[in-house]
Every structure is written in C-alpha cells, then in structure tokens.
C-alpha cells in the first residue's frame, strides 16, 4: 500500500475521527473520541491492514489520551490513533485485545499505571505493579506523589 492509497483509505473512516494530522512525511495522527477507538483500530488492523506496534497512555491536563500506534511497513508510516477519554473520574475505553492478542500486556500495563479501565479485556490482572501495591494509586498520573503512602515504611 503506497502513500496515496494509505491517505485515501484513511478518508473512509473520516466520520469517526475529529481530525487527521500529518506531522512529518511519514507520521499520521488520527484524532478520535474514546467511543470510536475499537472501530478505528479494527479498520486499521483488519481492513488495511497495518501492523500493531504499541499503545501509549498519557495523563493530559484535562483528559486521558490513549495512543494506538500502527505501522505501515511498506511506506514507513506510523499511524497513531489518538483517543481522548474526557471522563477523568472513571476513565474507561473499549479493549482491543479481543481483536489484537498482542495488545493484552500493554492494556494491563496502562490499567496498572494510569487506572484506565479496558472494557471486555479477557485478563485484567496486574502486570507491572507488585501484589502489595495499594489499590487506586496510579504511579504515572501527574497527581501521583513521588512516594505514595503504600510504599512508605
């Protein structure tokens, strides 16, 4: 799939996106709301198809961002689906693990460190945090203190 085809195919899901940003030659950001993440990722992974790379979770000032990075290896493009979770109190998003088994670990990791709930994830056990880490303390949130109560002696 060359660059032009990729750009054209991405227009097919335009109604699910807020915007399409081309930051440099081969980096594309697809901005979308949290409820559309599954259908957009399904389109990229199954229809195009692109290779799944990883997910990045970010605590932004007014929302949580979940970035799904995909790679089009024929052109060297990284296509990133940037989803915004506006509900800071109970952040949740649809899991893509049923679609891409390779996403199981990273969704568990983001759940551990940012406290984002992944709906329909098949195995939401802890991955990164130790067993005695206190519930409800999410180390990668900006509000998290450097040393939480749970780790003090």
């Amino acid at each position: 799939m060359n660059q032009e085809e990729l750009n054209n195919r991405l227009l097919e899901i335009k109604d699910k996106l807020i915007d399409i940003e081309h930051t440099t030659n081969n980096r594309i950001f697809l901005l979308c709301e949290a409820q559309n993440n599954y259908s957009v990722c399904k389109f990229l992974f199954e229809e195009l198809p692109l290779r799944f790379v990883i997910v990045t979770g970010i605590d932004s000032d007014d929302c949580f961002e979940v970035l799904y990075h995909f790679s089009n290896d024929e052109t060297g493009h990284v296509v990133t689906v940037k989803t915004f979770i506006r509900d800071r109190e109970n952040p949740s998003i649809e899991s893509i693990t049923p679609l891409i088994p390779g996403a199981e670990w990273i969704e568990r990791e983001i759940h551990d460190i940012l406290g984002i709930e992944f709906k329909n994830h098949p195995n939401m056990r802890r991955l990164i945090l130790s067993d005695d880490w206190p519930e409800g303390v999410y180390p990668l949130r900006k509000a998290c203190p450097e040393r939480s109560e749970g780790t003090k002696k």
Partner: protein, 405 residues
C-alpha cells in the same frame, strides 16, 4: 472426581543475573506436552518512563541505554530519532554513519551471543564456546570506538558524542573480515548438521497468522516469513544509503530463527564494510539549543526487533511523556502460540528462540502434584540435551566437526 486432579504445573523463572528483565513462566503440562502457558513479568520494574520525565532531553539517552545491556545502542538511537523528528533536526552525515557502525556491531555481538546460548541449551557446548570466542573481538571493537563494551552512551540529540578515529578503521575492516570467515563456517556447520535439522525443525513453530496477531518483530517475525525491518522500511541514520538484504524464512520454527540470525550477522558485516568505506569527513554533532513542543515517534531495529519510542515535549527542557516499547514486549507473549502443544524438552529452546533473555530458564522447576516430584532447571536442561543425544543416536550422525573453524 476428575476435577480434583490437579494439573501439573511447570514453573519457569523468575530470577537470573543475566536477564535484563525477570520473567516467570507457568506451564501447565499433560504428560510431557505443554497445554497452557502463563507469563508473569515486571519483577524488576525500574520505572524508566517515569524517571525519563524528570531528566533533561540530553540526559535521557544515558538512561535509556540502561533499559537493556545488550541493546544499549538501539534504545538511545530510537529515542534520538523521536526527538530529532519532533524538533526537525537532521544530524550531520558523519554522525549518521557512526550510528550505523555501532548499531551493526551491536547486532553482531547480540546474535553471536544468542547462537552460543542456543547451542548450550541443546547440548552443543562446542557451538557455545566458538560463538562466544568470535564475539569477543566485536566487543573489543566497540570498546575501541566508544570506550565501553556495552552502554556506549555515544549518541546525543543532534549527532554523536565521540568520533571514530581514522586509525581504528583498518582494524575494523581487518576484524570484520576475520569474523566473516568464522561466521560463514559456523553457519555452514549449523546448516549442514543433520542432528540440528531433526532437533530444531518443526519445533516451536510460530505461524505467519499468529505472528501478525501477536504483532511480533525482528528475527521472530522474519523467521515466520514477515519481511519487516525498520532499517529498510523507515530508514534512519545512514541505512537509506547502504545496500543489504532483509533475511526471511518461511518455516517459523526454531531452526528458521537460528538461520535468520546467523545470516543477519553476515549482512551486518556487509553493512559495516560499506559504512566504513563511505563515511564522510565532517562534524559529528550539531548544537541543539532547545526542543520545541510537539510529539515524535522514533524507531530503531534492535537485534531482537523494532524498538519504538514515543516522545512528547511541551517546549520545556524535559519530555512530558516518553513511552518505550522494547521488542521482547511483543515477542514474549507469542509463546502462547508457539509453546502450546510442544514437548517439555523443547520448551527451553522455543523460549530461547525468541531471544527474550535466554536465562529465563535458569530457575526452571517442574512440580508434579501427583508424585511430588520437583525437576529443577538442570534436570530440564538435561532433558533437552538427552533429546538431542537420542536423535544423534537414532540417525547415527557424527559429532559436529568444529576443529577446522
């Protein structure tokens, strides 16, 4: 009654000093066949992504070179690619070639290390001794260039920290010539050995479909017929100017992954030879004053596969988010696809074939709840070696001839 019968559990892990990351594998076995696998990681979580947010852009390369001792050139390079992309910087051409040379030397020593350990796991200690002997001069070259055998700390935003002195160039060429001959012989010895064919072919097969579903990268993907290589697909450093082949194999088994790695050593030698000849004169770094707000995705092909770094800046002097994805993070979960249905004696080599951190097998223990038998790591390693010895006997193969190497 049947529900009361506990399934035998095989526990693999978690601690070994060689491993950059502790891992624990719990294998459920039926007789000698693996029926399920559960992986537990993060025994040694160091919070590098969080620490990175507290360091300045120029300090982060030293931090990320410590993500992995073996890939200590790939991680900083992927990070630098991300930062240079978001800041719109292109490093001087000489720096790009230096980056290529260091990264390819790293690939050679990592692959040779793997070949040696893979030999050790199946009872070919001659392969172990020879592969590690050939690896030593590569580490010496890295030391001559960067001052360190590992953790080179040679890249920075906008270029490189240390130049390659002209007087080392003839030594590099001479050493890689010798290494090429040795690797060719080692490759031939492995490819021609009938025991290795029987022992490793059809073992731990990862199908192309599963490789896509688990999103594996590097030799693990290329051994399953997926021709991806970040160096070619999204060229960084000076890879766009150099000519080499992406090695793939269709079989997806342990043998295919071994062949991919051995042939990649030869390709890496080709790349270094070209880079050393083409390296232009000139400065090795630009002065970078500040990093603008923005975000960048940097990639580098580490020995184990694609290393991915995402960096976001708000215009300050520190990244506000730095995501790191090491290749093993996607390669290791593929064990669910490659180990289930395999023989226990093949699990050590199947796990090792992904080159996660071979040492995960050090604390291997089989707990059979019926008979209360505990097999430790040594016993399982012995099972793997006995299997090789049985095959040798069955097909009446001669000992691997290494004396002419």
């Amino acid at each position: 009654m049947k529900q009361n019968v506990k399934k035998p559990i095989l526990a693999v892990g978690p601690f070994h000093p060689l491993q950059e990351e502790m891992e624990f594998f719990q294998l459920t076995v039926d007789g000698e066949i693996v029926t399920d696998i559960d992986v537990r990681i993060s025994y040694n979580h160091r919070g590098i992504e969080k620490i990175s947010e507290s360091l300045q852009f120029d300090q982060v390369p030293y931090l990320v070179s410590r993500v992995c001792g073996i890939c200590s050139a790939s991680h900083p390079l992927a990070y630098i690619n991300a930062v240079e992309e978001l800041a719109g910087i292109t490093a001087p051409e000489r720096a790009q070639y230096i980056r290529v040379i260091i990264n390819e030397l790293e690939r050679i020593h990592s692959h040779l290390l793997w070949v040696g350990l893979a030999g050790h796991f199946i009872g070919y200690d001659t392969v172990f001794m020879w592969a590690w002997k050939y690896r030593e001069p590569v580490l010496d070259l890295l030391e001559a260039i960067t001052g360190n055998r590992n953790n080179y700390g040679n890249v920075r935003v906008g270029g490189c920290r240390e130049d390659i002195p002209d007087e080392i160039i003839p030594k590099i060429l001479k050493d890689i010539d010798t290494l090429e001959k040795k690797t060719e012989m080692l490759t031939k010895a492995v490819l021609d050995d009938p025991v290795l064919h029987v022992r490793l072919k059809g073992v731990g097969t990862l199908s192309k479909e599963d490789a896509v579903r688990y999103a594996v990268t590097g030799p693990t993907a290329r051994g399953s017929d997926i021709a991806i290589d970040t160096r070619r697909d999204d060229p960084y450093a000076a890879y766009g100017d150099l000519d080499w082949n992406v090695i793939t194999r269709p079989e997806g088994d342990v043998f295919a992954k071994a062949v991919v790695r051995l042939l990649e050593v030869l390709e890496a030698i080709k790349i270094i030879r070209q880079a050393v000849k083409k390296i232009p004169k000139g400065p090795i770094a630009l002065e970078v004053k500040e990093i603008p707000p923005g975000e960048g995705c940097g990639r580098a092909e580490a020995p184990r596969g694609e290393t991915f770094h995402y960096v976001r800046s708000d215009g300050g002097n520190r990244p506000i988010r730095h995501k790191i994805r090491a290749p093993s993070y996607v390669n290791v979960p593929s064990f669910r696809a490659s180990c289930i249905g395999e023989h226990i004696a093949d699990v050590t080599i199947t796990l090792a074939a992904v080159d996660p951190c071979y040492s995960c097998t050090e604390r291997l223990a089989v707990v059979d709840s019926h008979h209360n038998i505990v097999h430790d790591y040594e016993a399982l390693l012995q099972m793997s070696r006995d299997r090789t010895a049985r095959i040798k006997k069955e097909i009446g193969a001669p000992e691997l001839k290494m004396e002419d190497l």
